[in-house]
Symmetry: C2
Subunit: 305 residues, 2 copies
């Protein structure tokens, strides 16, 4: 990534995440509202230092189609809230059983398993309230909000994100998979992370009335950056683990399907680079308006976590 | 309840629940679709012999406002799917820790805690997909579907059903509550069960374009039958437990806030009857169209479970 491209991107991400944080502050029920402990748990994970990538993609999707970030702000927040719920539930002992996320104790470690489940349920439900409320923004037609809600529900549900997590859960440590590890890995990542990243862009486009061709191009872009994002994550896990965690990291690699485990480190990196260039090719029709999303594609494999 | 009134109601409930079952069969992803085990878990709890009360209320709400049951069928199914998700999550060991529901092992007993959490998440998400798809039914305006989605999200979220469950969870066995048991009991039931019952009627009205006054009357009706329903449930628990469960039942009574525990059996029954007559009074403006909902109000305290 060139210096100027990078600085355009960083200032985009910074200004958008500031807007999103301010809006999330308004959209989430205050801690003082009953049930206080539930709202505290919901806020604990929403304000835990996330980079607001999905809202940024949603707003960039709106802008590249000729709309404004303001027009999709509630839905952009909905995507972050949805992403947060998925992390809270994934961290539970019955799932990935993680004690720490972003350097802080996970939700259930602080509030207990029952409240963490309910905080996740509350966030998931709030996401759909926010999408419905996006219809109140001037210039947004009600049928666009309905379509946005449908797109998000399909991407987040049992044929999307929840489905990816389910396959991840049942395939962990399952020796019977050995014959088709590559297919299972592909399924997990397309669904567990890919579907919501793709939907983030699509929702931004839908809510500004984008046409079918624009939506299709953004979907292709979204699929490819989702793939690049996930491969980079897996690669960083291996490289980072070797540096930081020693043996514990490599045990996890063996238990979980990852790109480096299936394809090796070099082939994984090659696939990530190919996905980035496929993503950028999908943006061609947008001409000079594609600057930010093009830089974001590069950023997927260059970011630190 | 008179004989003719009762037979009108029973034939209404039967015909509506048949429609709903057939529609749910179409709306839920087939077990053969990947991830098979997740879809199996979702279907296991949706097709577990529920009476489809919330869909019936939604369809009756549409009909009393001059619309048809057909017009609100996807949303009616969404309400049942939402109710099912709440049961699956409530039964988890981290919550009420129940092994049996409607005579069958609970979801997590069959599929494990992780898949039960994901099945609940998948159902909750599917509910909002179905509401969005209700906009495709001819005669339904997109802004009505948006409003239906908003109403359900508020009723099911942290200020509604999930909030009620959270207070139920943190108040169980909490001695510090002794000073205000009545208020806590009231909060739990208005939110945990009441909010979704009220929303079921409102969604039916919204999706056929009902006006503010009709919606308000149905909301008052819904609040009151929700209350009657819950008191009757608590009373049946006491009466039923004494017959069937012996000591185990009474232990549970002591741990959990219930109407008989707070008000005694007779006062609980009096309150249930008052709620039923308040509910029926709210229906006056609908004249003869109120027959089914009026009979349903009586049914709330006469039903067996």
């Amino acid at each position: 990534m060139e210096k100027t491209e990078q600085s355009v991107l960083l200032s985009f991400l910074k200004s958008r995440s500031r807007k999103v944080d301010a809006a999330l502050e308004r959209f989430l029920p205050r801690e003082a509202r009953m049930p206080e402990v539930l709202h505290k748990a919901m806020r604990y994970s929403v304000f835990a230092g996330g980079k607001r990538l999905r809202p940024a993609l949603c707003m960039a999707g709106a802008e590249i189609c000729g709309g404004s970030a303001r027009q999709v702000l509630p839905a952009a927040c909905a995507l972050e809230v949805l992403h947060t719920y998925s992390l809270v539930h994934d961290d539970l002992p019955a799932m990935d059983d993680d004690d720490v996320r972003r350097g802080r104790p996970t939700n259930h470690k602080v509030f207990g398993d029952g409240l963490a489940i309910l905080a996740g349920d509350g966030l998931l439900t709030l996401a759909f309230e926010l999408i419905a409320r996006n219809a109140e923004v001037s210039g947004v037609q009600p049928e666009w909000a309905v379509e946005a809600s449908r797109v998000v529900a399909v991407a987040a549900g049992s044929l999307g994100m929840v489905g990816g997590q389910a396959v991840d859960l049942v395939s962990a440590g399952n020796a019977a998979l050995n014959g088709h590890r590559a297919q299972v890995l592909d399924y997990i990542h397309r669904h567990k992370t890919g579907a919501l990243i793709r939907a983030s862009l699509d929702v931004g486009a839908v809510l500004v009335g984008a046409g079918r061709d624009e939506r299709r191009a953004l979907a292709r872009y979204g699929e490819n950056i989702g793939l690049a994002f996930q491969i980079a994550d897996d690669v960083l896990d291996v490289v980072g683990d070797k540096k930081l965690l020693g043996k514990k990291g490599s045990d996890q690699d063996n238990r979980k399907l990852t790109f480096p485990a299936v394809y090796g480190l070099e082939e994984s990196r090659r696939r990530a680079h190919k996905a980035v260039s496929d993503a950028k090719r999908a943006l061609r029709r947008f001409g000079s308006r594609a600057e930010v999303l093009s830089a974001l594609a590069d950023y997927m494999i260059e970011r630190d976590r």
